[in-house]
Amino acid sequence: MTERKIRVLVAKPGLDGHDRGAKVVARALRDAGMEVIYTGLRQTPEMIAEAALQEDVDVVGLSILSGAHMALAPRVLELLKGNGQENVRVFLGGIIPDEDLPRLKALGIAGVYGPGAPTEQIVAEIRAAVSGATE
């Protein structure tokens, strides 16, 4: 039997066109042995939820730099839940003000990373979240 791979969808919802951060994270997760499905720029929450379903991912990583995270992130969570994927862990990266963190945590976002967050930390926290979810 093949060793079970962690599958991660990396997506950029919203209208900002800067995906270097998302690519850096995708590459780091790849180097950590994960399978990363990269979907590119300007995804709607609906497109992200649909891709997460078809790809049967364990984790969704959202990169949002536009400031629209309080609208986009809850919508993605809601759609995942509607599809029966409430077990999928959602992580958020980008420019996220500290005062939004408690609300994002309360909504069920598993982790939030700003610029300069070490990729080792992201990898470790995704691994921990996934092993917690599958037990």
């Binding site: 093949t2 060793e3 790849r30 180097d31 399978e35 609906e46 078809q54 049967d56």
Partner: protein, 333 residues
């Protein structure tokens, strides 16, 4: 039949996605489901899309899916990208070019990492197509990893194989080499709005003429003429057409689609469809048979037997072939 299998047959998309993971990970549940679903397979048209990295395979798959959808067919896409040989990780990026297909419930896209397989597909790609086939997808597009010259597994899996070329990638010497061009049922020159498309087309057509010396087709004042054209009844010959496309604009797609349909009709009328199915099933059976046989044999060996044999090989006391004989005959235990 399990609940998961039942749900897949009734069109549940989440169940389908989860079953694909079970199959990809070769779990006992995945194996059982494949057995249960097998009777429902054999309906879909499997179309392989292969070619060098950057020739536009994903964009072309996107366009093909759009066109098949317009014809009312349900389309599944299996897109394979390479796994890292060092970490086992992968970045699967084919969906980036397929955003036109989002929101259409008649399309299902699944990305697969090659996970160490070298033939251009993943070990579980064939099994994934069986799941889609059973789930009622009429067209299954299989996109290989960016292929060089010898990733030819797709020809064994697909009914129709498209080899995608782009202008400027090689001359007529590349075109007569063995390998990927030989497996083409259709040759597609994508990015046909780029310079050099005539030279590429000429090289490919020259190659085709060399490959099919019995039936010569040439163009004269834009008209197709055939020499020794009539194949004997029952031995109909398929000469791969060369299609020009521009995947980004959709140019040439109706003609490509028409050529694909013509190939499917040719396979059915010539009996090649059944022959390919049989060859594919035979190869699949062979592989499973060998795997199972080896696994069972190794499981009943006394503990340490294999280790001592390998040690004897390393000390040059035993040659590998003699070692195999010894193991199978039960000598030297």
């Amino acid at each position: 039949m399990t609940f998961l299998t039942q749900s897949v047959l009734s069109g549940d998309r989440l169940a389908l996605a989860r079953l694909l993971s079970q199959v990809e990970n070769d779990t006992p549940a995945g194996r059982a489901a494949l057995d249960a679903l097998f009777a429902h397979t054999g309906q879909a048209h499997l179309i392989g899309v292969t070619g060098a990295p950057g020739t536009g395979k994903s964009s072309l798959v996107n366009q093909l899916a759009l066109h098949f959808r317009r014809a009312g067919k349900r389309v599944a896409i299996v897109a394979v990208d390479p796994s890292s040989p060092f970490t086992g990780g992968a970045v699967l990026g084919d969906r980036v070019r397929m955003r036109d297909l989002a929101g259409d419930p008649g399309v299902f896209i699944r990305s697969m990492a090659s996970r160490g397989s070298l033939g251009g597909l993943a070990a579980a790609t064939a099994a994934a197509t069986q799941v889609f086939d059973a789930a009622g997808f009429e067209v299954i597009l299989i996109e290989t990893v960016g292929a060089g010259q010898s990733e030819v597994d797709i020809a064994r899996l697909a009914h129709t194989t498209l080899v995608i070329e782009a202008p400027g990638l090689g001359d007529d010497i590349q075109a007569i080499k063995a390998g990927i061009l030989e497996i083409a049922d259709l040759l597609v020159i994508n990015k046909a709005d780029h310079p050099g498309v005539e030279a590429t087309e000429r090289a490919l057509k020259t190659m085709l003429e060399l490959a099919h010396p019995v039936r010569k087709v040439f163009l004269h004042h834009g008209q197709k003429f055939e020499l020794n054209g009539e194949a004997a009844p029952g031995t109909a010959l398929w000469i791969p057409p060369v299609c020009r496309t521009v995947a980004l604009s959709g140019q040439g797609l109706p003609e490509l689609l028409e050529a694909i349909e013509r190939h499917a009709a040719h396979l059915r009328s010539s009996g090649d469809w059944a022959r390919r199915e049989r060859a594919r099933l035979e190869a699949e059976f062979d592989l499973l048979f060998q795997e199972t046989l080896v696994a069972r044999f190794l499981a009943q060996l006394p503990a340490g037997r294999l280790d001592s044999l390998l040690a004897a090989l390393q000390e040059r006391k035993l040659a590998p072939r003699a070692g195999v004989e010894q193991l199978l005959n039960g000598d030297g235990t």
